[in-house]
Symmetry: C2
Subunit: 327 residues, 2 copies
Amino acid sequence: MIRAAAGRLAGKARRTPLLRSPFLDAIAGRPVLVKPECLQHTGSFKFRGAWSAISALCDPCENGAHPTGVIAYSSGNHAQGVALAAREHALAAVIVMPSDAPRLKIENTRALGAEVVLYDRGGEDRDALGAQLARERGLVLIKPFDNPQVIAGQGTVGLEIAAQAADEGISAAHVLVPCGGGGLSSGIALALAAEAPAMQVHPVEPAGFDDVVRSQLSGRRETNPASTGSICDAVITPRAGALTWPIIAQLCAPGLVVSDDDALRAMAQGFARLKIVAEPGGAIALAAALFQARALPGDAPLIAVVSGGNVDAAMFATALTRFGDFA
Amino acid sequence: MIRAAAGRLAGKARRTPLLRSPFLDAIAGRPVLVKPECLQHTGSFKFRGAWSAISALCDPCENGAHPTGVIAYSSGNHAQGVALAAREHALAAVIVMPSDAPRLKIENTRALGAEVVLYDRGGEDRDALGAQLARERGLVLIKPFDNPQVIAGQGTVGLEIAAQAADEGISAAHVLVPCGGGGLSSGIALALAAEAPAMQVHPVEPAGFDDVVRSQLSGRRETNPASTGSICDAVITPRAGALTWPIIAQLCAPGLVVSDDDALRAMAQGFARLKIVAEPGGAIALAAALFQARALPGDAPLIAVVSGGNVDAAMFATALTRFGDFA
């Protein structure tokens, strides 16, 4: 499924490069390679999964089974990925967002052609509202991670890592992946199990939202006690998915946990050494590579996925002000 | 020479992608494609010219004519490009810098393995000092732009633009290039004259340092009245080169001039829409594409080179604070 998704994504998703800097190697004490999915369309890897799922929906379109449109719940990166992928398939996209979502995210999603339906987080039932809209208008729900075609789309990051690392003579590595619902971690783990079995995938979570690390220890799917309280909003979910967790449990190496300050430090390093813009949640795997390299056995290179760059100017300026002065 | 340089750079310089965003297209009113050389090794296109020149020096190395090392005058991007390219050729690099250069640039250049020799801008003669060092140690001077192999190396950006634009079905375009000494503009113009003759190259300069625009009008190589007074330090030179100017005069379309504020605005757009870090001088061609598109005849796509991203955190935070709030 991942290889089929890669075929549908060819020429549509961007094949992001694999970046490195001698300055980052020096911090980690070994080679650090960075897969900057912040450079992906809509600023995050989510475009891959959205394209994969929507293009798969449309596979039977030629037989006349063309859906009317798609619907998604998201105030963040999944919303923009679905909006753009739907527009490029000439499908309507309805994105259900809380009415208190940042105005910029609402406007960006609208600017990508989606209809944004706002709901009151306090009084309205999002799922009921979405189900009603889907029924009335014949829309197909695109879940953010618990959808096989979404996982397959995110897995194309893993196919590219395997090929690009091989070009640099690297077959064994620790691959560090920001992990919220687990779509990216599980997709990459599946791809690398087939294409680069000497690579180990480590999910990386923000402090306080380490459900996957705790799940790896307990052997069952754990839940986070809180739903807010981290700057890493892109990777805050109640728990891993019903589909993604068994894949992570079977294929992933131990996860790592990163503090908010280390996420900001990694953003500043990405700025200074790679010239990329990472959002806090997108920077946690780079943070783990730079600041927790000693926790990773051996001396194999580290490959860190920077999963997104949709951060507002004030937060990025904070990272630079606090951690951007290397002189 | 450009094609030969491309052969020597293959697998050494990064083939930067061609990025785009529907939000930038909307500002310009037509497609805007961005070649982000800030993602190049050492954070600017200068690595290409440095690699090209140093690898050409080393071509006869196998015959025993290995040079001892190289020397360059620079406090900026050329210094880092030469330092890294020399180190990867196992050559010594001496970089002559003013003693009041920013400490971070001195440290970064040293960290890339170069020996930094400081001189007193007020009392010492830089050229005499450099000539003495070169003579005593058998070093070869690598000029920042008036060197045919450096121009050939920068021209590889043009080869990539031609190929990558063709992949997107684009053969005619306005190609906007930040211009200081003219190495990048002349190299790209030469490459595109051969590979994509329907593309027009426009040098872009910062306000107050528009010697090339004035030279295009007068027909002779003009000089800038000042040597400081712009935030666009990467593209501030007294005048275009003796080698680069005739190429620009013959091959380039009219130049454009960009204000410091528009450079900062373009940095904020690059941050928000492409997730890249541009320095002020590196952002001026993107600024011209976004804010002066109406000055460019027809409706052909615009291709803007972002030439570098070596900007300190305080300056970048200024761009975000002043122009980064799109909500």
